[in-house]
């Protein structure tokens, strides 16, 4: 019994350690809109990959404006890259992930764009699956006995 408790405590502490380390070090691993704007000169000419909670805030003639946690960024597109058609299907509020090159003049030149158009569909389907499995397992009371 004592060994079981020791193992339990060990697993819990190890998991907690991983989670705390991730929470502390993780945010430094990604580029945020705010970080780019605060260090604009340093990021000039660098390739940026933005994919965490990026939403379309405004559509413009030469591109669009993205928003991430109240920080906004102007994104310009190039017609020759074939992004115009994709840009036309954009709507304000769409979640996107994108790759581009930052210019210290205050805009990101778009190189790749992914619109998460059916994000809600994926979330709904996944939620229904989890709910279905939960019902199935609760119904099947032999789960633990006959594992």
């Amino acid at each position: 019994m004592i060994y079981t408790n020791v193992r339990l405590i060990f697993y819990c502490l190890a998991l907690l350690g991983l989670c705390v380390y991730s929470a502390l070090a993780g945010p430094q691993q990604i580029t945020t809109v705010r970080a780019v704007q605060e260090n604009s000169a340093w990021f000039h000419g660098r390739e940026l990959r933005l994919n965490s909670q990026i939403r379309i805030s405004q559509l413009l003639d030469d591109g669009f404006v993205i928003e991430q946690r109240r920080a906004k960024m102007h994104v310009r597109t190039l017609e020759k890259q074939g992004l115009t058609n994709m840009q036309n299907s954009l709507q304000v509020g769409d979640f996107v992930s994108l790759r581009g090159r930052w210019h210290s003049d205050g805009y990101l030149l778009l190189e790749d764009l992914h619109i998460q158009k059916i994000r809600l569909g994926r979330i709904s389907l996944s939620s229904l699956t989890v709910l279905g499995l939960l019902v199935l397992f609760l119904y099947n009371t032999r789960l633990l006995k006959n594992a």
Binding site: Q29, L113, Q116
Partner: protein, 157 residues
């Protein structure tokens, strides 16, 4: 992340092919755990999502599987760990085939922050295949119910 229905369908198929060496319920639990414990926070509470990120990494899932197995009888503990880890790792393996604009997955966390993925299909691809999953599911369910029907025995002469 392919949707969880695709994950569950593939895990179920793989488990059946494994010749019942693993426990189906625990394989299915293992295959949904990575998304259930990390994605809701990405969507609803992005500010705390990094705290739950380890549950979508091999190291975190190994520890979690070991932790969960402590709550089952000792005689089935090994089977439960194997099933959970198999389901969870199958989930991670399938996720690797996706192509993300922002990179990939932290497979070697906490030892490395390098992202990795094969980058072959769009994350939405699995949802476009939903009608196929549904058709296969209905076919298997019908086949299973037909096979399990009790037919009257042929009278012997």
């Amino acid at each position: 992340m392919p949707d969880l229905l695709s994950h569950v369908a593939i895990a179920y198929g793989a488990q059946r092919c494994s010749g019942r060496r693993l426990s189906t319920p625990w394989v299915l639990i293992g295959t949904i755990i990575p998304d259930v414990l990390s994605r809701p926070f990405n969507i609803l509470f992005p500010s705390v999502s990094w705290f739950f990120m380890p549950f979508h990494t091999p190291a975190g899932l190994l520890l979690l599987s070991a932790l969960i197995s402590e709550f089952v009888p000792a005689s089935t503990r090994r089977l439960v760990v194997l099933s959970l880890v198999s389901g969870a790792f199958l989930h991670l393996f399938l996720d690797l085939f996706q192509k993300h604009t922002g990179g990939g997955y932290y497979l070697f966390f906490p030892f490395s922050w390098n992202k990795f993925e094969f980058g072959l299909v769009s994350p939405e691809a699995s949802l476009y295949l939903f009608p196929i999953w549904l058709s296969v599911g209905i076919y298997l369910a019908l086949r299973w119910s037909l096979l399990n029907q009790t037919f009257p025995k042929t009278p012997s002469f």
